[in-house]
C-alpha cells in the first residue's frame, strides 16, 4: 500500500514536470508568435498610414479638379452651381407607358389558350 503511494507520487511528479515543461514551451512559442504578430501589425499600420496618406494625396482637391477638367469630354463634371438645383415641378411626368393594354392582352391570351385558367 505504501509502496503504491510512493510510485503514484513519483509518477505524478514526473507528469507534472512534463506538463510544466510543455506549458513553458508553449508559452514561449506564444510569446514569439505574439512578437511576430505585433511586428506584422506595426508594419501593417505603417502601410495603412501610407495608404491613407496616399489616398488623401490622390484625392486632393487640386488633382480632382485637374482630372475633372481633363476628362470633361467623357464625364462632363462641373463645379456645383446654384443653377443646378431644380424644383420638383420642373420634372416632367414620365411618358405614359406605350403598351398600356399589354398586361390585359396577355391575361386575355392566357385565358383563352387554357380554358381552365382561373382569374
Amino acid at each position: 500500500m505504501r509502496g503504491m503511494a510512493h510510485v503514484l507520487t513519483a509518477v505524478a511528479v514526473i507528469a507534472l514536470a512534463f506538463w510544466a515543461y510543455r506549458e513553458t514551451h508553449l508559452t514561449q512559442q506564444a510569446a514569439a508568435e505574439l512578437r511576430s504578430l505585433q511586428r506584422e501589425i506595426t508594419g501593417l499600420r505603417e502601410a495603412l498610414g501610407v495608404q491613407r496618406a496616399e489616398w488623401a494625396y490622390l484625392n486632393r482637391p487640386d488633382r480632382l479638379r485637374e482630372l475633372a477638367l481633363a476628362n470633361y469630354d467623357r464625364l462632363g463634371l462641373m463645379p456645383m452651381l446654384p443653377s443646378q438645383f431644380g424644383e420638383i415641378e420642373q420634372v416632367a411626368f414620365p411618358p405614359r407607358p406605350a403598351r398600356f393594354l399589354g398586361p390585359l392582352i396577355e391575361t386575355h391570351a392566357r385565358f383563352t389558350s387554357d380554358g381552365e385558367e382561373q382569374l
Binding site: Q38, T42, G49, F85
Partner: protein
Amino acid sequence: MTRRPLRPLARILDARARGENPDAIERENLRLRAEAARAQAHARAEGRLLVLAATFFLAFGILGARMGMEAASAPAEPTVAARPAADGISANRADIVDRQGRLLATNMLTHSLYAQPQQMIDPARAARELARIFPDLEEERLHARFTAPGRRFLWVKRRLSPEQIQQVHDIGEPGLLFGPREMRLYPNGRMAAHVLGGAGFGREDVRAAEVIGVAGVERVFDEVLRDPANGGKPLRLSIDLSLQAAITEVLEGGVRLLDAKGAAAVLMHAHSGEILALVSLPDFDPNHRPNPLVEGDPADSPLFNRAVQGVYELGSVLKAFPVAQAIDRGLVHPQSVIDTRGPLRWGRFRITDFRPRGPEQTVADIFIHSSNIGTARIAQKMGVEAQRDFLGQLGLLEPLPVELTEAPNARPLFPRDNWSELSMLTISYGHGLSVSPLHLAAAYATLVNGGTRVEPTLLRRPRSEPGARILRPETSDAMRAMMRETVARGTATMANVAGYQVGGKTGTADKPRRSGGGYYSGRVIASFVGAFPMSDPEYVLAVALDEPVETSGVEARRTAGWTAVPVAGEIVRRIAPLLGMRPEIAAGTADGITRVRN
C-alpha cells in the same frame, strides 16, 4: 530536557534486592529514549513536508492565477510608435483632419541617410555614387567630409524616398546607414497652408526624431498632438476642405484677373464662430515651408497670413459699426434723415464723400451708398467713449483668440492713448483703426446673428452656447435689411447671387505709406464683408484684396464694388451649393399650374 540516566541507582538496587536482572531496566530505558527520538524526527519531517507542500501549492497557485490573468487580459495592439523611442524622443504625432474627417496632416515613415566614415571601404566611390543619386549633393565636398580625419558620424540626407533608399543600398557601402524618420506630410499641398502652418524636426537621434510644429495650429496644439495620452486621436478642425479648395480657386482667379498683390478670405459660421475656410494668398506648401524673410516687409512673404496677421485700415466696411450702435441705442432708426452736406470740417481736416448724393440722406442710404460724412455725423451723436467701448465689445481692439500662433501678435492698430474727436470721426468710416479680415468677419457675425458675440475658432464645435449679447435682436434685423439693400441696389450689386439673399458692405481704403505719413494714391485694399442668406444668416464671408485693379473699362477701377465684390459673389455662387443650400427663387407658376388645397 534533563537527560535521564539509563541505570538509575535506586531502581537497580531495588531490582537487585528483588533478584531481578538490572539490565532489563537499562534496555527499557534505551527503548524509551529511542522512541522519543523517533517521535521527534517524525514531527520534524512532517513539518518539512507541510512547508514543502505549501510552497508547491503557492507556486502552482501563482502560476494558475497568472494564466488566468493572461487569458482574461484584453488584447492590445501595438502602435507604430510603440517601438522603444530613443532617449524619450516621442516620434508619434496625431493626424489633423478637417470637419468631415478628411486628412489634412499625417505622418509617414521615411528614412534619413547618415554615414560612419570609419566603416567606409571606398569613400571616393560612395561620394561619386551619392552625387549621382542626389543631384543636389556635390561629389568633392562629400568626399572631403567622408575623408576628414577624426570624423565618425555625419548626416548626408534628411529624407529619402523608398526608391532612393534602394539606390543607396545598391551602392553596397557598409558605412552608409539609414535611420528611421517620422515625416509630417500634408497631402493637400498648399491647401489651408496658413492654417496648418508646418512642422520641422526637433531633437534628433539616429533612431528617431521629434516632429514639432513650427507655425499655425501645428504649433498651437503641439503639446496635444504629441501627447501619447491622447492615443493618436486626430485633431479635428472646423475647416472644410471642399470649401477651402473652392474659395482658394476663386480667390486665385480673382488675384490673377485683378492683378492683386495678395488676397484673403474667411468663411465663418455666424453663430458658433467656426472658421470653415481661411485663405490667404500668396500661399506656400507646408511640406516645404519656406524660410521667413530676414529683411523687407514680412507681408511680402508667402508665410504672411493676410486673413489674420494682415491688419489693415479696411475703410467703409467699418461703417456698419457706428450705424448699428446708433440704431441699438435708439438714437436713429434706418429711416432717420441725417445732414450729409459736405465737406465736414474738423479743424484743418475735411471729410468728403466719394460720390456726394445730396444734402440729406436717410441712415439706410448713408449705409447703402457708403457716405463718409453721414457716418461721421452719426458717430458724433454717440461720442468717443461709446465708440471705443462698442468696438472693444466686438473684439476689434484686441488680438483674436483664434488658435494660430500668429494671432496673438496681430494686434489691431488704433490711437491707443489719444482717441480724439477726430479719431472718432475717421474711425467711424474706417480710417485710423486697422484690423484683420478675420476680426471683421467675427464682428459682422455679431451684427447679423441676432447680436451675440462670436469668438472665431478653428476647432470643430458641434454645439455652442450663444455668446454675450451685444446688440438687440431688432438692431440685427435692421442691419441685415440694410446689408441686403447694399447688395441689392447699393455698392455691392455684383455680389447679388440669385436665390441666396446675400447682404454685406464694401470697403475701399487707400494703403498707408510704409514709411509713415500719408497714403499711396492708386493703391487700395478692397474688401467685402457679407453674410448669407440674409433672412437668417448662417455664414459670414469676408474678402479682402491687396492692390487690385480692374482694367476691363476705359479707366482702371479700384473700388471694392468692381474688385472684391465680384470675387465674393463668385465665391458665394460656388460655395453655397457645397454648403447644401438650395437657391430660394420666388416660386414661379411652373406650367401654369396653381397649387390648391383640397
